[in-house]
Subunit: 512 residues, 2 copies
Amino acid sequence: MTLWNAPFCLRQSDQTWTYDGSLAMVTEDALDALDWNTAFDDMRNRETGGIGNPDEQRQVGHVWLRAPELAPTGDLTALISETVAAVRDFAARVRSGELKTPEGKAFTDVVHIGIGGSQLGPQVLVDCLAEDENGARQGLQLHFLDNTDPDGIHRTLSRLGERLATTLFLVVSKSGSTPEPLNGLKLSVKALEAAGLPVPGRMVAITMDGSLLHKQATAEGWLTTFPMWDWVGGRFSIMSAVGLLPGELAGVDMASFLAGARTMDMWTRVMDWRDNPAAQMAGTWFVAGHGRGDRNIVVLPYADRLELFSRYLQQLVMESLGKRLDLDGNVVHQGITVYGNKGSTDQHAYVQQLRDGRNDMLVVFLQVLQTTARDVQVEDDITAGDYLQGFLLGTRRALFESGRPSLTLTAPELDAYAMGALIALFERAVSLYGSLIHINAFHQPGVEAGKKAAAAMLKLSLAVREALQGGAKTEAELAEVLGADAMELHYLLERLVLSGRVARDGERVKLA
Amino acid sequence: MTLWNAPFCLRQSDQTWTYDGSLAMVTEDALDALDWNTAFDDMRNRETGGIGNPDEQRQVGHVWLRAPELAPTGDLTALISETVAAVRDFAARVRSGELKTPEGKAFTDVVHIGIGGSQLGPQVLVDCLAEDENGARQGLQLHFLDNTDPDGIHRTLSRLGERLATTLFLVVSKSGSTPEPLNGLKLSVKALEAAGLPVPGRMVAITMDGSLLHKQATAEGWLTTFPMWDWVGGRFSIMSAVGLLPGELAGVDMASFLAGARTMDMWTRVMDWRDNPAAQMAGTWFVAGHGRGDRNIVVLPYADRLELFSRYLQQLVMESLGKRLDLDGNVVHQGITVYGNKGSTDQHAYVQQLRDGRNDMLVVFLQVLQTTARDVQVEDDITAGDYLQGFLLGTRRALFESGRPSLTLTAPELDAYAMGALIALFERAVSLYGSLIHINAFHQPGVEAGKKAAAAMLKLSLAVREALQGGAKTEAELAEVLGADAMELHYLLERLVLSGRVARDGERVKLA
């Protein structure tokens, strides 16, 4: 029985991913009707150094990171290649023990301090590739500080125990002024000082030249710094020093990772959607979701190592495509929602809804054919890995039979090369889709707005305490004096009371 | 400035969660117009022992687990109380070292083998509550096998190293026949046998009386078994032995966890939506999503410890509400999509889309006022935890100002009591919402269908090899002989080739 048979459904890249759109339930005519000329013109413009991010008047050059010879100037080509070499050299010196802590010991651990694009990429890389099939790490052990929750930061640093003394700290912030990583840095410095460990000789910064963080690292004499560039967005930075350094430190074959991305770039640079899986995927997103994101993308990787990949993709897709304005300034409120964890685990969670409930999603199956050479028989002639594939194919069929569209991406095995190719495939699909819906996929104005709103709340918290220096007041009096929203004020006060900085006195509050 | 002020917006339970619907953008009239009589009648019917799950003709009694005296018969009350006592006693004997491995050593680790409802609950509990603020564990260390990926299973078991010999194995499967946990069990047994360790004296089963797993445990003389009951669904089983045993072993205060749930039950049993936050939340989901789930629920917990909670909620909500038929057999394709990770991390990921993109979500903020007693100043009079709250309140305001609705749930601190209450709140909201949209929230017919489809694929994989015993064939010939879909057959063959069981010979394939 043939489920569906589109003529454009199966394309194989050199030893990496097979793209299978046969169950996507979109027609060739619908895909062919999209404005591919614009999408491919935009792609060529970006890749040759045009202004791909008009709102910020920036180039969009993350593809040059894996093909430096494509950079628009020889200087840039040299800069990229030199940075790759410098990262590799530094990581090799750390891993070999040549580069030591100030106390003369080899580094054993890395604390990576970053958030958003600076963090999810490295975490996905390490989670997927740092361990062999026996659970043995190939390089140093990485830990992540990715928030300003003091409880989470304390726990991560405390778990290091005595290995705090042999931990290398990577502080990653493009602007060098994002509060979360700066707070992570401050708490790490306090922990080091409390342990009597000098700070600069175990710190590395990855940031833009001239940023506040860069100045601090230079002034304090940190081990080294590596650059971030304004033509690489945070969510596209995994192939820059942001991903390369933690990857190399963790023992991941980053040369192979870059090579995989480069291969995928070549395959998906073809200016015919039929022969270009990134274009075919972007077009499928468009047709399936009516160009408005009416279908959520559900990522179902049947491989435990890919459990975090959906979160990486969620950031890549939603931060790129979730935009208020199109390129002409019209209000469009675009976006595609992405979520997912891992199959077959999720079949016992939300697949019930995918199959029977709202028909509002496009599922992306990720299939890895050779799960591990150490696969084990659980029944006659059937292994645990056969079961995993059985669940994937069974779910794929069950969703199709109940009218739910899906794509299937298949790799022979999951290594650094395949991961580089997979990430490049989605980066390129996102960029092409941005062109198809006529938005700027390379800025993130809403993130800046959120930072400003948070700063206003901290200012209000300080103003509360200043106002209480004049004596106890009721919440209503404070709200009026400060022109504050009653509920926001209430939450700030509750926290100040619980942390012992403000006390309640009947109906009134006062400084503690 | 007042953002919004609904008269029904702020309710506080005894020392647990405050419910704040003030920014939900739903009117009191719209909430009041819902069919609360039916919803509360259904609630009373369930809680007094009626058939709450009509398709399977089962009672729905998970609330009795935290209030055994409410169970419909004295026998059931006794059974629940005895099981709680037995779990506590067993865990105490393991933790004290009284109960030892067959080799006479104290247990140090637990491998929990389960999937879906049997797994996410324990994992959330442990992730949230097993470590103190210094990262120190209170009890044994837990590890989870939650899939049939042999690579993931190998890595988890291999990481144990020598501690494999002091590991207790919990095998959890209600039916006792779910393939993923059975495969996890089989691979664990192989690992133990390879290490020369006798199996039964380190195994515990949690399953229904009389299941295949129960029979195996009894026949082989496992350490003990604990019951699952047909009146507790997997996704509602965290307060049964399924959650209690791993929680107690990990050192979580499960008595307090049950007490928190019990308190929330009492608060949310009130038959007036204005005074019942579970009802108010369910009603808000209904009004905001037009009773069809038109808004995704985005869970934003501003606490690292709650990072997995959105996944727990995703299962609870989507498996309960994602249904094809209503109670009268009409095709309705219901459901609500749930996703989320943690704030403020996600502000650098998908909050860009929440704020600027598609207006298709209802955000649920989870606020913990006292993050840790060890909070640290990062600027004058501002701590890392103040920043965390600032980001929450800033994002809440920014979303409101761009017309995105939200709810805010606030707890003074995050302990076992608060977690029990939080889970009970959502369990009850899901049940009430099920009544409001007139579906059965307590079965999962789509999961069974997925299992059958997977079994058919495994059968096809065996049939391929049987067919090849007659000699080499092309893929087209095989597809015709077996009546198989060409693409499914191709994927099965690719895996068989890569794992060395089938070989390619030109256009044909043959047994290797």
